[in-house]
Assembly symmetry: C2
C-alpha cells in the first residue's frame, strides 16, 4: 500500500510537470518565432470567468505540492504565485519538482489511511482518508489544470500534441 | 496492491464519467434553452486539427473500458463510436459504466505486475507492467479527454464549473 500511494502521486506529478515545462518552452519559442506578445498566451482564457493559462500552471503546481505534502504528513509550503512570464512559470515547475522530489516512499508509509482535512474550519471543510483524497480529489484536480493549460496553448495555435502532454514515461 | 490497482482505476473512472454524463445533460439543456443547434457543441473543437467534443467523450470512454479490461486480463470490447447526439453520448457513458462495473477487486488481483502491450505488432508497440500502464499512461490519457470535453463545453458558454467535472466523491 505504501508503494502504491507513492507510485500514484510523486512519479505521476513528475511526469506530467515535466511535460508541462516542455510545453511552456515550446509555447515561448512559438511566441518568439511569430512575434506574439507572450501575454497573449500566458493570460489566455477559454472563457472570461475561467483562470488564465499562467494560473492553471500555478494551480497544477499547487496541487502537486499540496497533495504530496499532505500525504506525507508534511507542511504544505506557501508559494506567492506571482509568476507572469514563461521563464518564471518554468522556474515554478522546477521549484515544485524540487519540493516533491524530497519525498520518497518512506514518507508515504501509512499515507493511504492518513486523515486529510481540506479547507479546515471553513464551511467547505472536508475529511478524507489519504487514498480517497489522492484518487478522488487530488489527481482529478491536478490533471484538470495541466490539461487546461495544454488546451489553452493548443487553442491558441501552439504546435504541441498529446505526446508533449504525456511527458516522459 | 490488488486493492490499490482497483481503487486507482474503476472508482476513478466511475466518478469522472458520472460527472461527464451530468455535464453533457447540462450542455444539452443549455442548447435547448438558447435555441442552439446541438452540433455547435457536440462538434466543437478547440483547434481545427483537434478532435471534436463528441470524440473526446468517446475516447474517454474507450480508455476507461480498455484500461479496465487490460488490467483485469479481459478482452477489450470493440465499440462502434457512432454517437452523435447528447443522448447517444450519455448512453455510451452508461454502457461504459455498465462494462467497467462488471469488474471487482478480485479481477484486479495481480494487475500491478501484469504485462500490458499496447498497439501490439506495430512500430508504436509498447510494453508496460500494469501499474506503470495505469499510472503513467491510462489515467493521464483518460483525464486528458474528460477535461478536454469539459473545456470545449465551457469555452462554448455552457454554465458548468469544476464541481461538475469532479463528479460525486
Amino acid at each position: 500500500m505504501t508503494d502504491a500511494m507513492y507510485a500514484s502521486s510523486i512519479p505521476v506529478f513528475k511526469q506530467m510537470l515535466g511535460g508541462l515545462a516542455a510545453i511552456l518552452a515550446k509555447a515561448e519559442a512559438h511566441a518568439a518565432e511569430k512575434n506574439i506578445d507572450v501575454t497573449a498566451l500566458t493570460q489566455a482564457r477559454l472563457f472570461p470567468d475561467m483562470f488564465p493559462m499562467r494560473r492553471q500552471v500555478q494551480i497544477a503546481c499547487d496541487f502537486a505540492r499540496g497533495v504530496s505534502a499532505r500525504l506525507a504528513g508534511a507542511e504544505v509550503p506557501k508559494y506567492e504565485d506571482q509568476e507572469q512570464s514563461f521563464a518564471e512559470l518554468r522556474e515554478l515547475i522546477e521549484r515544485t519538482l524540487g519540493f516533491i522530489g524530497g519525498f520518497g516512499p518512506a514518507q508515504f508509509e501509512g499515507a493511504a489511511g492518513r486523515e486529510i482535512v481540506t479547507r479546515p474550519g471553513t464551511p467547505k471543510e472536508r475529511r478524507f482518508d489519504g487514498q480517497t483524497y489522492l484518487l478522488s480529489y487530488g489527481l482529478p484536480q491536478f490533471f484538470f489544470h495541466v490539461t487546461t493549460a495544454y488546451a489553452l496553448l493548443r487553442h491558441n495555435g501552439v504546435e504541441i500534441g498529446k505526446r508533449d502532454y504525456m511527458g516522459q514515461y
